[in-house]
Amino acid sequence: MGTTALIKKEHIYLQETLSSQAEAFDRVAQVAYESGAAQTKQAVIHGLAQREAESTTGFIEGFAIPHAKLKDITEASVIIIQNQMGIEWNALDQNPVTFIIALLIPDAEAGSTHLNLLSSVSRMLVHEDARQQLIKASSPDDILNTFSSYIS
C-alpha cells in the first residue's frame, strides 16, 4: 500500500489561522469527523489531549505530531495542518508549532501495514531535509510528494 492511500490530499490544510493547541485539536477532530475517519469529534479531541498530557508531542523547528489510538476512530488517517502563526506546544526545543501532523489510529489496529506507515511518518521528521521540504511546501501536492519520496 502506498502513502497516498493513507495521506489524502483533502486532509492537508495550508495557511491556517489557528491560535491555540485546543483549537488545533478541535480542527483535527472536525476534519476526521467530517471525512468519516472518526465516529465522534469529542472522542478525538479528548484522545489527543490525553496523549498530550502524558508528554508533549511537540518536536523541533515548529513540528508537532499529536496522535491518538481510539475506538472511535474507524480509519487510520494522517491530518496535516500548516498554520500561519506559531502555536505554543511545549515542544522539545520550546519553539512554537506551525506544522501539525496528526496521526489517528483505530483501536482495533494491530500489527498492520498502517502502523508501519505511520511510524515512517514519525521517522521522516527526524531528517533535516525532509523538514525543510515540508516547511517550503506551497501546495498540498508538494507535501504529498515529500511524503512519498521519503516513505515507500
Partner: protein
C-alpha cells in the same frame, strides 16, 4: 580498525511516534559518527528488529531510550545509558559520543559497586532517576492496598464509629467485616512498599528480603518511612550478596536463588532492621513526654507541634505519639486536644485530594484517581491515603503536609473546638462542639497545603518538559 557497535532499544507508552523518532535519530547520529547501530523498537506494532543474544554480546555499548519497560536486564554487564525517549530523539548524538568515550556506567551487577564513583563524577542525576524508579515501583504497588483498605474502613464507619467493636452497643457484624478486611490492606501496605522497592532493584531475591524487612518495619512501628528504608536496604543486601557470591561455580547457580539469597538475605535484613526499629518505641515515648509539657501551651505553639507530628510520618512513631496522647487526654475528659490532632490527621489526604483536583493537569491519571479517593479517606480521618504521595517524594511533600496540618490544628485550637471521638473524621460532626469552625479550619489548612503542593508539582512538570 573494527567499527564501534552500538545497540539500542526505544519505546514510549503509546508506541506510535516517539519510539520511531528516537530510532531514526539514533540511526542518523550513528551514521554521522561512523558507528554501527541496531535499534530495537517497542511500538504499538510490537517489538520490531529484535536484538538477538548475539547482538547483545557483540555490542560495545547500549542505549535504552524509553519511557516504558524494554527488558533492560538483558544488558547486564554492558555499558548502558538509560534515558527517557525524548532524550533519545533530541540528544542522540551526545548519547553516542558518551558511549564512544566510555562514559556510560556498566549496567546492574557492578552498578552497586560503581555507585560511589558515579556520584562523584556528576552522574548523580541518573542515580537519582534510578532511586526514583525503585521508589515508584514500590509506591505504585502499594497504592491499591491503600485505596482498597482505606475505602473499606471508611465504609465501616458509616455503620457507626464503633460499629466494628463487638463490645459496643452499635456493633454490626458486616461493619466489623469491612473494618477488619480493610485493616489487613493497611497492614500489608508497608511490607508491599518495601518489597517492591527491593524487587525493582534486585528482582525476586530482592522481593523476598524486602517483604521481610517491610514486615519488621511495619510491626516494629517504623511506619512507611521505615518501609522505604528497609526496601532500599533489602536491595543493597542482594547487590552485596551477588557480589560476594560471584566467585561461586556456575553449577551452583540454582542453589543461590532458592537457598543462599533467601536464607542469608532474610537473616541480614532481620539483623539490620531489628537494630533499626529498636529505637522506635523510645522515639514514641520521648515524643509523648515532650508533648506532655505542651498540653497547656498557647494554640499556635500547640497547633504547630501537633500538625508537624501528625503529618510527619503518618502512622509512624511520631504521629502515633500525638494520637495516643490525644486519646489518653480524651479519657481524662479533655476534648480540646483531640480536636487538633484529628484536624491534623484529616488534613494530609485532603491536601492531596484538593491538589490533584485543582492542579489536575500536572498529575498523572493514576494520581488523579487516587487523589479523588483521598476526599473519602480524609473526611473519615484515614491519614494513610496521603502516604503513596508522600512516599514518592518525601521532600518536599512531607514538609508541605506538615504546614497544612499545622494550620488546621492551630485554627482548631484557636476556635476551641471540642471533639469527643478519637476517629471517624467528619462522620462525628454531630457530636463536635464548634463543628463549623472545625471544618473551616481543616479546609483552610488543606487548601493552603494543596496550593503549595500544586505549585511544586507544576514546577516539576514544567522543568521536565523544559
Amino acid at each position: 580498525m573494527k567499527k564501534f557497535k552500538i545497540i539500542a532499544a526505544t519505546g514510549c507508552p503509546t508506541g506510535i511516534a516517539h519510539t520511531f523518532m528516537a530510532e531514526e535519530a539514533l540511526k542518523q547520529a550513528a551514521a554521522k559518527l561512523g558507528v554501527e547501530i541496531k535499534v530495537e523498537t517497542h511500538g504499538q506494532i510490537g517489538v520490531q528488529n529484535e536484538l538477538s543474544p548475539e547482538d547483545i554480546k557483540q555490542a560495545d555499548g547500549v542505549i535504552v531510550a524509553a519511557d516504558k519497560d524494554v527488558g533492560a536486564e538483558r544488558f547486564a554487564g554492558k555499558r548502558v545509558l538509560d534515558v527517557p525517549v525524548a532524550r533519545g530523539i533530541r540528544d542522540a548524538e551526545s548519547l553516542i559520543r558518551a558511549l564512544l568515550n566510555g562514559e556510560a556506567p556498566i549496567y546492574r551487577e557492578q552498578t552497586a559497586a560503581k555507585t560511589e564513583d558515579e556520584l562523584q563524577t556528576g552522574e548523580a542525576a541518573s542515580i537519582g532517576r534510578k532511586i526514583y524508579k525503585h521508589l515508584m515501583n514500590g509506591v505504585s504497588h502499594m497504592l491499591p492496598f491503600v485505596v482498597g483498605g482505606g475505602v473499606l474502613i471508611a465504609l465501616s464507619f458509616l455503620f457507626g464509629i464503633h460499629s466494628a467493636d463487638p463490645e459496643h452497643p452499635s456493633y454490626n457484624a458486616f461493619a466489623e467485616l469491612l473494618n477488619k478486611t480493610g485493616a489487613f490492606g493497611f497492614q500489608l501496605m508497608v511490607p508491599i512498599l518495601s518489597a517492591y522497592i527491593a524487587a525493582s532493584m534486585a528482582k525476586r531475591p530482592g522481593l523476598i528480603v524486602g517483604f521481610i524487612g517491610g514486615m519488621i518495619a511495619s510491626t516494629g512501628g517504623a511506619g512507611f518511612l521505615g518501609g522505604i528504608v528497609s526496601g532500599f536496604l533489602a536491595g543493597l543486601i542482594i547487590y552485596g550478596l551477588s557480589y560476594a557470591l560471584k566467585k561461586m561455580p556456575q553449577s551452583l547457580e540454582g542453589l543461590k536463588a532458592i537457598f543462599l539469597y533467601p536464607v542469608i538475605g532474610i537473616f541480614l535484613i532481620g539483623a539490620v532492621m531489628f537494630f533499626l526499629v529498636e529505637p522506635m518505641t523510645a522515639i514514641n515515648e520521648g515524643m509523648k513526654d515532650f508533648l506532655a509539657d505542651f498540653q497547656g501551651a498557647n494554640p499556635v505553639i500547640l497547633g504547630l507541634i501537633i500538625g508537624c507530628m501528625s503529618a510527619f510520618d503518618m502512622g509512624g512513631p511520631v504521629n502515633k505519639a500525638a494520637y495516643v496522647t490525644g486519646t489518653a487526654l480524651l479519657a481524662e475528659g479533655n476534648q480540646y486536644f483531640m480536636a487538633g490532632v484529628s484536624a491534623a490527621c484529616i488534613t494530609p489526604p485532603l491536601v492531596i485530594a484538593f491538589a490533584t483536583l485543582l492542579f489536575r493537569k500536572y498529575f498523572s491519571q493514576q494520581d488523579r484517581n487516587a487523589g479523588l479517593v483521598n476526599f473519602i479517606l480524609g473526611a473519615t480521618h484515614i491519614t494513610e491515603g496521603a502516604i503513596p504521595f508522600a512516599a514518592k517524594k518525601p521532600i518536599p511533600v512531607i514538609p508541605i503536609l506538615m504546614i497544612g496540618s499545622s494550620i488546621s490544628a492551630i485554627l482548631t485550637y484557636s476556635f476551641a473546638v471540642q471533639v469527643p471521638a478519637p476517629h471517624g473524621g467528619f462522620l462525628v460532626l454531630p457530636v463536635v462542639t464548634g463543628a463549623f469552625q472545625w471544618v473551616l479550619s481543616i479546609i483552610i489548612g488543606s487548601l493552603i497545603g494543596a496550593f503549595l503542593y500544586g505549585f511544586y508539582q507544576k514546577r516539576t512538570y514544567e522543568k521536565q518538559k523544559g
